[in-house]
């Protein structure tokens, strides 16, 4: 008789045995994902959007909360037991499976939308309710994104409820995602106004400062749309440097930004997988500043072209900005940025690719009151701070020398200070 040995992922073997309610909850989330996929083949689900919506978004929410809510009854404190021995959080089989699933989703979403089939029907009821029209794939994406931020945000609130800083910051990113990234744009669509994201500016949304879009906003008869024009110019040139001067880049990256919102919630279980080596830091500086140069050149070219009435570059400027959209906007921020969460940590895009983060980082390093201060000689070099830095900063290297940490990439999430067992680190706006 032959026996077949099945290697179970570590999560379901002895050491990280999950409590029953968590198994049920995770099961519900997995089932919701499967049901969502079924919609790709059309069939009865797509014909009954209300049921489809409940069995996907609804079931995933209930499942997520089944796992998370009981955690509010645990004793408060650092909850990193078993992070390094679980395959899900330490690049095991489950992590790779999840990473491949995320990546596949982005590839389909951006380049093979026809494969989504009737999946968008799952969010039709929500779309009709707030937007007054049927859903499209971007609304599906936005809804899944927002639901992830909210559910995993509640998880953050449970995990760090002993820390007022994390409570305030997490509520801030959750609110920002829900209101600025989801509800307001939906209402703008409903009003047949201009779909606008008040929390994104140039260069994260490079087109917001392109001559064509500014012209469109400022030439509108609608005062709200003209206001959007003022808003985008004001935010890019005045608010970004001013707020960064006072608070560092954290006011944006870990409090407001949508990419940051997903990193700080859905990405939190994977933060320890960021590369802390000096090599990675060198690569990071070349790549992220390279992207910044690329987008600055793109914007400059397009303006130049616009001044010269399109004579200088002709079609060339259009294809240049299209290339940016493909390589940076889709491939980098989506596929690599979120798809690789479980393998490379939660801030791949923010660290290596985001031009907004690059600008904020330069301001933070050279023109800001923000820094992380260290507490005399109390550091024991344990490494918790570096390990849990999602940006891959070797925080310990500074802490053990008693030096302030003033790094361009630091998003001010504050986790280093929270996991420090000796109270050595403090975020300050000196």
């Amino acid at each position: 008789m032959t026996t077949i040995n099945i290697m179970l992922p570590k999560e379901i073997t002895d050491r990280n045995q999950l409590p029953m309610h968590e198994r049920i909850g995770y099961g519900m989330v997995a089932l919701a994902a499967l049901i969502l996929l079924l919609g790709a083949f059309g069939g009865p689900l797509a014909a009954h959007p209300a049921i489809y919506c409940f069995l996907t978004i609804g079931l995933a929410t209930i499942g997520g909360l089944t796992v998370i809510l009981p955690r509010f009854t645990q004793l408060p404190g650092i909850k990193n037991n078993g992070v390094m021995t679980s395959g899900l959080t330490r690049r095991g089989l489950l992590a790779w499976m999840l990473g491949i699933a995320f990546t596949a989703f982005f590839i389909v979403l951006y380049w093979y939308p026809e494969l989504l089939g009737q999946m968008v029907a799952s969010v039709d009821p929500i779309s009709w309710t707030i937007r007054g029209r049927a859903a499209d794939r971007w609304f599906l994406y936005g809804t899944l994104y927002t639901v992830s931020v909210l559910i995993m945000g509640i998880r953050m609130l449970a995990k760090y409820r002993h820390s007022p800083y994390h409570l305030v910051r997490t509520v801030s990113v959750m609110t920002s995602q829900l209101v600025l990234a989801f509800v307001i744009p939906a209402i703008l669509v409903r009003l047949d106004s201009h779909e606008f994201y008040f929390h994104y500016f140039w260069p994260l949304k490079p087109e917001y400062l392109f001559p064509s879009s500014l012209h469109e906003l400022f030439s509108s008869d609608d005062k709200l749309i003209v206001f959007m024009g003022f808003w985008t110019v004001m935010m890019s040139f005045i608010a970004v440097p001013t707020l960064t001067y006072f608070f560092g880049k954290r006011w944006y990256c870990s409090w407001v930004c949508g990419c940051g919102a997903l990193s700080e919630t859905l990405g939190d279980p994977f933060r320890q997988n960021s590369d802390k080596s000096l090599k990675a830091w060198k690569a990071e500086r070349w790549i992220v500043h390279g992207v910044l140069v690329f987008i600055v050149l793109t914007t400059a070219l397009i303006w130049l072209n616009s001044f010269l009435g399109g004579e200088l570059l002709g079609q060339w400027s259009a294809s240049w900005s299209k290339a940016y959209g493909f390589y940076i906007g889709s491939l980098f921020s989506g596929v690599v940025g979120v798809g690789f969460y479980p393998i490379m940590g939660s801030r791949v895009w923010c660290r290596f690719g985001c031009p907004q983060a690059a600008i904020l980082g330069l301001l933070q390093k050279w023109f800001s009151r923000f820094r992380i201060t260290t507490n005399g000689g109390q550091c024991i070099s344990c490494g918790n701070c570096s390990t849990y830095c999602e940006m891959g900063i070797d925080v310990r290297a500074y802490a053990q020398r008693g030096e302030d940490i003033k790094r361009a990439s630091c998003v001010g999430c504050g986790v280093c200070a929270t996991v420090c067992p000796r109270g050595v680190l403090k975020l300050e706006n000196q």
Binding site: M84, N375, G383
Partner: protein, 404 residues
């Protein structure tokens, strides 16, 4: 010039780094425990799965080559002080111009019957950690002997794996040889909250079992069955090597204020050193010794003067910081005490003759520089209380509720 350092803990490594910053001498660090320096206080986090071994290395592996610090993993068998050389168990001999002994400390075993059984562990080395890891497979119950800092770490570690923990404390409350009663009560209560079965006024009498641990017998006569026994009754300086080769030792290796031992060109620092009759088994002290001896070896011959005392720890979820003098017995001293009505937050400021002497903080973070400067200046306690906000090192939004 060749400087050989025995021991790659924080003392030895700090000495090596200091020497490298100040001179071009050849530096070799010998350790039997590991090739690379790791943070010893972080061992518990490896067991709990917060970190992997590689995360506990404060420097990346390329650091040592770049800074021309040679690392040798071997045990030192012989110190020949006359020939100025050491022999290693891998057959090599290293000659030195200066030798630094930074051999640290080892768990004190007090000859309990059964202390050599499998499942009985000290907790100071990487090898201890590996052994505890092996014993933990399938273990349900552990007894932690001793309620000091390592005892609490051991309890937290084992508890994190779902192993039931009973903790034996010789005294009538938690860590009474260091803590005044209020602090003892807070930590004692916190341990209970976490489900640790703490037995006060109880000592270990013997450990039972044939080959592996089956249980322990307590001084009260009670027996407890368990799979793991953690010996956390303190550590003692590792002085065997020095002792065997004619270097004067007592509790630790005798050194003067320049960390020079009785043998020329041999220094001793950290846990293994005894200076003015004092052995300070403290990570921070070891680091300070390392920095000082490095300077001395490089010709900056100044006597070592101990700075204001400080220490820190974490008892499950309660952080602890202390500065200056806060004895367990506060006789002759006054103290200002504040405690949060609900949360585990506590502050004690010890003063005498109106001058501040020391701080104990639980669940609060104090700013080290400010507190230590106040103590150095013997600042007036009223001034300290009025300016207490300057010593706030808590995270933002955490209300500084200390009512003065």
């Amino acid at each position: 010039m060749h400087i050989v350092i025995i021991g790659n803990g924080v003392a030895g490594v700090t000495a090596a780094r200091t020497i490298r910053k100040r001179s071009d001498a050849q530096i070799t660090i010998v350790s039997a425990e590991s090739t690379h320096f790791f943070s010893r206080p972080a061992l518990m986090y490896i067991y709990m799965g917060h970190m992997e071994y590689q995360h506990t290395k404060p420097y990346e592996d390329w650091f040592w080559k770049k800074n021309r610090i040679d690392l040798v993993q071997a045990r030192v068998d012989i110190i020949d002080a006359t020939a100025q050389s050491i022999s290693l168990n891998n057959g090599t001999t290293l000659s030195y111009d200066a030798l630094v002994l930074a051999t640290g400390s080892r768990t004190s075993f007090y000859d309990w019957p059964g202390q050599n059984l499998r499942g009985v562990h000290g907790f100071t080395t990487l090898q201890d950690l590996a052994a505890i890891e092996t014993s933990s497979v399938g273990a349900r119950k552990a007894v932690v002997v001793g309620g000091g800092l390592i005892g609490v770490e051991a309890a937290e570690m084992l508890h994190s794996r779902g192993i039931e923990v009973t903790m034996l404390v010789r005294e009538s409350a938690y860590w009474t040889n260091v803590f005044p009663p209020e602090e003892s009560a807070i930590i004692g209560g916190h341990l209970v909250q976490h489900g640790i079965d703490v037995r006060y006024n109880t000592q270990l009498k013997s450990i039972e079992g044939m080959e592996c641990v089956r249980g322990v017998t307590l001084s009260t006569g009670e027996t407890i069955s368990c799979n793991i026994v953690m010996i956390c009754t303190g550590v003692k300086p590792a002085i065997d090597l020095a002792q065997q080769h004619g270097i004067t030792t007592h509790r630790g290796i005798h050194v003067n204020e320049y960390f020079e031992t009785s043998s020329p060109n041999i220094y001793a620092i950290g846990d293994c050193a005894e200076q003015n009759g004092i052995v300070e088994l403290l990570w921070y002290t070891a680091r300070a010794h390392g920095a000082h001896v490095g300077a001395v070896i490089c010709g900056d011959r100044r006597p070592y003067v101990r700075d204001v005392f400080y220490n820190s720890a974490k008892f499950f979820d309660i952080e602890y910081q202390t500065y200056g003098t806060v004895p367990a017995d506060l006789k002759g001293l006054e103290s200002f005490v504040w405690q949060h009505p609900r949360k585990d937050q506590f502050l004690r400021i010890v003063h005498s003759d109106g001058m501040v002497r020391g701080f104990n903080a639980l669940g609060l973070r104090l700013r080290a520089d400010v507190c230590m400067q106040w103590i150095r200046d013997t600042a007036n306690v009223d001034v300290v209380l009025r300016n207490l906000k300057q010593a706030n090192f808590n995270e933002e939004f955490l209300a500084w509720e200390v009512a003065v």
